[in-house]
Amino acid sequence: MESIAVDRGKCHSTERNAMKRSRIGKLGAITAVVLLAPGIAGCSGTTSGEANGKVVLQMWTRGAGTEDLAARFNESQDKVEVQVTRISGDYATKVATAKSSGDLPDVMDIDDIDAPLYALNGVLTDITDRYESLSYKDDLNKAQVDLSTTNGRIYAIPNIAGPSIMMYNKDLFRKAGLDPEKPPSTWAELLEAAKAITALGDDTYGFSIPVACGGCIGYSFSPLIWASGGEIFEGEGADQHTTFSSAESAEAFGFYKSLLDAGVVNPAEYTEDGSTWGDWLASGKVGIELGTPVFYPTAIEAGVDVGTAPIPGKDGGFATFVGGDVLAIGEGTDHIEEAWQFIQFMLEPAQQEFVAEQGLVPTRLDMLDEDFRAKYPASATGLQAMENGHVPHTLAFNAIVNDANAPFGTAMEQILTEGVEPSVALAQLDQEATALIKQAATNAGIS
């Protein structure tokens, strides 16, 4: 889900927009140059093949900084050249068009949540054996590997992770008499800290909830359920169903409601649709925010002293929602070997560290050491949280959670701001979500 790809302004894919906003300054210039560079510019119909004795690979990306990494790869050897096309807007539609015309790129960097859909529909090459041969395969982020696995076969390798974490304003913690080195580790502590910070007054609020962005909340809120031992998706394929009305989940929804009732959320955030989600923490007026690590560098630049910690469960423990990108080889390419060589390059420590430099999180858990922790604190917290990383393996995640009209966001809004009884809203949510799963399964030809 990590991307600076420019698409429509709404929060269609969890933290995507927040990322876009906060990163565009830094990467915008590079991106623009690359987009304008002749031969790399998108949709020009460049084909893979051979040029100047080199194998030319076409790559589609939505990930951050891919162009720089491809340039590194091209300089590192003289046999293969990767040409990057940045896909902005509707990636899935472009993939579908390319699939039907037989023009799939050799290498693709895709939103991990879409991996099952692509794998089922023959868009991706089975790379199970190659994955098995990786020396660091057990250190790869498990949640994303699971998402890249369809019917027991592996179709993609995770390269960028976007785990949700808790970030808090240390200055506000100090002012409110809280220990800035002891972030809340249970829901009760979280509520207490949020209340203490709100009591500071002067338009300061303890907690941030982007109420009108279902995708943002799906990403930042779900770990509260997982960390408390709950689940939201159960089963597989057409028999999959959601369990939003389970006790653990209902309790988490109730907890969010209690935060609003306690007045620790700025009412101006009731219509936050994700487009300025990252600004709240950076404004210095919000005590605690659950969100993407990408908010961290932005807030630091804005002069806010930010601490990070994993998202806690009700009585302790932690979990994270791991969005992110995975690398795959397009079905039908003549250059599997070269494409695999590039994927391996992307997973080398130097390139994984580049991901952290961008404010994102590497997918190799063996990157985490003291040195890394000191250099990239938010990224390190993300890596640590990924030990209990989750991401639903489903065909209908966008329809259920990310889309502006998805039932998840509707239920959340009903509970938070419209006074609808949680049990009623959640039962309705489960019913609609399960219907959407059935629909998506039928659509994908699974029954």
């Binding site: 899935a92 659509n443 030809g445």
Partner: protein, 276 residues
């Protein structure tokens, strides 16, 4: 043999329309195999509660927005129909928003009403209509009126120009005679202007209703369908089915249904107005 206009209609309208009809008769996922399912998509649309509710909202929006739009267009046309010095400036000012792209205009409004940052929000606070940052989009009716506001701002210029041209074709002597007979301002408008510009009124009505029934970008960008999915229009829903849920066949069926409804609505309007 084939005239260019026939050819153009066929290539840009006929063939795509036939393809759309064909898609609507299939289960057509974005990725994967398509399969012929006859009228199943249409049958689903008949029982799809979500679709019905978005259609009801679209009709509600059309019923409220259309008269407001036409009335504002009429009033503006009255102001600028005179051939006086400087009136051209006002014509240009009122018409200017028409040439702004719909998406750009919507984003502009998003910025303007942003709580705490937008100009409109700050003005509301300064004049004391609201206390503190207020989000206009947190409430159903406010959201609807915000969208109606931008729809009018964006489209009223077209209405104005069409009505103005029609008004200018009404001979001045008719008004002179009416004045002599003691007809007041309101009487002159309703008894003289209106009956003489029926044709243009019909056109404006047709265009406005069609535009409102097909409203999409302003809702997509400004309200995003919120609060809580209450401001989703028919085309917005079609988009969701086709490009979020990847059900192109069903989306195509909804598109065909909307076309049919619009065709019927237009036929009725033309008929009614012609009989007059």
């Amino acid at each position: 043999m084939m005239t260019p206009s026939v050819l153009i209609s066929l290539v840009f309208f006929g063939i795509p329309m036939l393809l759309l009809v064909w898609m609507s008769l299939n289960n057509w996922p974005l990725l994967g195999n398509t399969s012929f399912i006859g009228l199943a998509n249409y049958a689903e649309a008949m029982t799809d509660e979500k679709f019905h509710s978005v259609v009801r909202f679209t009709l509600l929006f059309t019923v409220i927005a259309t008269p407001v739009q036409i009335l504002s267009g009429y009033l503006l046309a009255m102001i600028v129909r005179r051939r006086a010095r400087g009136v051209g400036v006002f014509r240009a000012i009122y018409f200017l928003p028409v040439v702004v792209g719909g998406a750009a205009a919507s984003y502009m409004f998003v910025v303007l009403i942003k709580p705490g940052q937008g100009l409109i929000d700050q003005v509301l606070q300064v004049v004391g209509l609201t206390d503190g940052k207020t989000s206009l989009l947190g409430n159903f009716w406010l959201s609807v009126w915000v969208v109606i506001g931008i729809t009018i701002w964006k489209g009223v210029g077209t209405t104005m120009v069409i009505l103005m041209a029609a008004m200018q074709s009404v001979p001045e002597e008719v008004y002179e005679a009416a004045k002599v007979d003691g007809a007041g301002w309101l009487q002159r408008e309703t008894r003289i202007t209106l009956p003489l510009i029926t044709q243009s009124m019909a056109l404006v009505l047709l265009l406005t209703i069609t535009g409102n029934m097909l409203a999409f970008d302003q809702f997509f960008i400004i309200t995003g369908g919120g609060p809580a999915r209450s401001t989703v229009t028919a085309v917005f829903w079609l988009y969701t089915e086709a490009f979020v849920r990847y059900r192109m066949g069903y989306g195509a069926a909804l598109a065909i249904l909307i076309v049919i409804v619009l065709a019927i609505a237009s036929a009725i309007q033309l008929r009614v107005l012609r009989e007059k």
